[in-house]
């Protein structure tokens, strides 16, 4: 899904400042970077700033790209770091991504047991529902949010996400599990109400 086809860009050409090659790079990745920023920050204006800063850094640092990871992973890392830096500056109270405070982020015990899967698509993907989906992501702690956005919104693999965030694959899996369970809880709350409304109409 969200992943870019790994297009062939000439690193040589990028290093020598070939503008046409830069334009190809931007064309290949701007959608991914914008979506990542938007889902991490929840605000289009902030996402646009991150989008621009990311490509400025990509251009400025292309010499430092050593090819050990793929180009897309490298770009993702820059974009993710930009987004995290922005969030920490804006909300210094947010926990650092590396800080191991697992206690407050344990597995969410399922509280909402309501089967809302049968709701029609028009209800599940309404504008209101989508806004609710986005808000729920914004309520995730940063370290869970970053993993969730990379894995489930951008479609990166566990290994790629671990490279981008510089954490173990195990940590990616654990955080993804916690993020998903929390979001399930929030969506169950919301869609459970929608289900209740429909039933009361019958």
């Amino acid at each position: 899904m969200g992943k870019a086809e790994e297009i062939t860009l000439s690193i040589q050409a990028l290093r020598s400042g070939d503008r046409a090659e830069y334009a190809r790079l931007v064309d290949a990745y701007y959608q991914l970077v914008y979506r990542l920023a938007l889902k991490m920050l929840g605000n289009p204006q902030d996402a646009e700033d991150i989008l621009q800063e990311t490509f400025i850094k990509v251009f400025r640092n292309i010499d430092k790209f050593d090819g050990r990871s793929s180009l897309s992973t490298w770009i993702y890392r820059i974009a993710t770091n930009e987004a995290l830096m922005f969030l920490r500056k804006k909300h210094p109270e947010l926990v650092s991504i590396d800080q191991p405070t697992e206690t407050e982020e344990g597995e969410q015990e399922p509280l909402q047991i309501v089967d809302w899967c049968c709701l029609p698509e028009s209800e599940l993907m309404s504008a209101e529902a989508k806004a609710h989906l986005d808000e729920a992501v914004m309520r995730l702690p940063l370290r869970l949010r970053a993993v969730f956005v990379l894995r489930d919104i951008q479609g990166l693999s566990t290994r790629e996400s671990s490279e981008v965030l510089d954490i173990s694959e195990m940590a990616v899996k654990t955080r993804l599990s916690r993020a998903r369970l929390r979001l399930r809880e929030e969506l169950s709350d919301y869609f459970g109400d929608r289900l209740g409304e429909r039933k009361s109409l019958l």
Binding site: R35, E48, Q112, M125, I153
Partner: protein
């Protein structure tokens, strides 16, 4: 089914819906699910939660004016025209 087992399986459900678990634990989950309506609902809604986010992501596009300002900021505006909108 004991509630203990629901709790024990909880941490594996995310990998379960990705189809990334070993056969043996999958069987354990499926057996449990057959007798535990709560876990069946949790798994179905967890799977649905993930698929809704996948679907929503596909619909998230960069607005054209954002793309244009990006190219301008990067001084690549001469490459904007040659691209499809």
């Amino acid at each position: 089914m004991s509630h203990e087992q629901c709790r024990y399986l909880l941490g594996s459900l995310s990998e379960y819906i990705d189809g990334k678990l070993d056969e043996s634990i999958c069987q354990e989950i499926e057996q449990h699910m057959a007798g535990c309506e709560n876990c069946r609902v949790v798994i179905d809604t967890l799977r649905k939660t993930v698929s809704l986010y996948h679907e929503e992501a596909l619909h998230t596009q960069t607005p054209e004016d954002v793309r244009q300002r990006l190219y301008k900021r990067l001084k690549l505006e001469d490459f904007l025209l040659s691209k499809k909108p």
